[in-house]
Amino acid sequence: MRHILTIAQTTMRESFRDRVFVGLLFFLLFLLGFSAYISTLSLSDVARVIQNSGMAGMALICLLVTILFGAFSLYREEERQELYVLLNRVSRSSYLLGRFAGTAMIIILFSLISGGALFLLTFFFGGIPAFGLAWAVLWNICEFTLLGGVAFLFYAMGISFTLNAIMVIGIFIIGHSMTEAVESFIALGRFGSPLHLQSVKIISYLLPNFDLFDFRLEIIHQQPLPRQRVFLALLYWLAYLAALLTAAGACFKSRDL
């Protein structure tokens, strides 16, 4: 446990010193400015537009964090041969968990900064205190820590960085298209092959389904989130993440470095 925390702290410190971190902060600032600007083009829905564009910006930033701080830093450490020094002192699974924890902390940090800034923008420009943004931050953290777990699994399997990044983006897109895919194949299934429908449903169960964390419209319309759905979504996140990290640990242990 001590090793995991130490590696997590080191990961965070390295990230703070990285120029990419500052670059992402500036990019976040730009996105927030864009949200505030674009809200002036709406008729009287300033708060809504700031929240919607802000949540989209938050997702984009966290996707970049997952790929640049999550995946890329692992490959960089391996390239610099620093990994072998570390693995002489700590177990492989501790190293992987520690790096994941550090990446997760960066994702949480960026989500909190984005959420806080959005709250202030919505309050000062839109005139409403958007407390629902706390849920947006939570679901953002769930989504991108899960995506980070996928990136770590691909790394543990020995996949190159470029392919890893492409596959992570692919999983991100597929994960957000599950509901639409199932709905469109329901119609197809009525007139076409039921096998297609079943195949799409099975894929939606097996691959990470980010639609389960999609409460954006409820947040915008200040509607209460259904408790049972929230609880099950969090349970899903925990179970899937545990599966990903366990599998990543097993792959990394048996990998020939």
Partner: protein, 276 residues
């Protein structure tokens, strides 16, 4: 190093100056909006990657900008009503609870006489999602009254609006006008009586009561004219025929003193003196 940096800065200034000069001398001609057919709602739902609200906002802003360009673009640029309403349809399908989008479809976006026909399905969907709203049926009714002269449809929606909680009374006069103009005297009388009952005692209450009584007479005369037409297989030529045929004892007195007559043009009983 300083000299190189200074040189780079001067080159940059030169480039900025040239850019300014080019843009002021060779102005880009004003072009029409690039209007691509919006993808289907399903395709947009895929493209949005679960940011449906954000995509709805972007499409809505696009529609607002197109509608607003009427204020500053030359007259040879026309507004594309089917395109802007296709955008609004996508907006309301992406986010069915986007109230302002429905409102804007029936209010600010109406710029041509037939726009209400394009707005109608969007607003009807809004009525289902916001059953308590009086504004949506009001704008439907108002637009049909103003742009289509369709008093029957207008009165149907305005009545719907009047029955909603918190509906202001300020549009009741418009509703009464549409009811009168299509000869729906019973409904007009019921509304007028309601308005009279809600007034405190005074001259306005008295006026409303007289108007309600007039509408009651008009309804009575209209019903009698209908029975005459059923029986005689022709419409009446004047109100005296109703008394002669025994359908009425007498023509009631107009409480506002103008009397009633049968209008051949409109095919119904109206208040006021007959003009030849």
């Amino acid at each position: 190093m300083k000299r190189v940096a200074l040189l780079a800065f001067f080159f940059y200034l030169a480039a900025v100056g040239l850019s300014y000069s080019l843009q002021t001398r060779f102005k880009n001609p004003l072009r029409d909006d690039l209007r691509l057919e919006p993808p289907t709602s399903q395709a947009l739902a895929y493209l949005s990657l679960d940011h449906r609200g954000f995509l709805a906002d972007i499409l809505f802003i696009r529609a607002i900008q197109h509608a607003g360009s009427l204020l500053w673009k030359p007259l040879n640029f026309s507004l594309d009503s089917p395109w802007k309403y296709a955008l609004m349809e996508r907006v309301t399908e992406l986010d069915p609870l986007y109230y302002n989008a429905y409102l804007f479809s029936g209010m600010g976006l109406i710029q041509d006489f037939d726009d209400i026909l394009l707005a109608r399905p969007i607003l009807e969907r809004g009525l289902k999602n916001f059953p308590e709203s009086w504004e949506l049926p009001f704008w439907l009714g108002y637009d049909f009254y103003l742009y289509q002269n369709d008093y029957a449809t207008a009165s149907r929606y305005l009545l719907m609006a009047a029955e909603k909680p918190n509906a202001p009374r300020s549009f009741f006069a418009l509703l009464l006008k549409t009811l009168n103009q299509q000869g729906a005297y019973h409904q007009a009388q019921a509304l007028m009586s309601k308005m009279a009952a809600s007034q405190p005692a005074g001259s306005l209450k008295l006026l409303y009561e007289k108007k309600a009584l007039r509408l009651q007479h008009l309804a009575q005369l209209q019903d009698a004219a209908g029975k005459f037409a059923e029986r005689e297989k022709r419409k009446i030529n004047n109100l005296d025929e109703l008394v002669k045929s025994g359908l009425l004892e007498k023509i009631p007195d107009d409480p506002l003193g103008q009397g009633y007559h049968w209008s051949k043009d409109q095919g119904r009983v109206v208040a006021g003196k007959e003009t030849n």
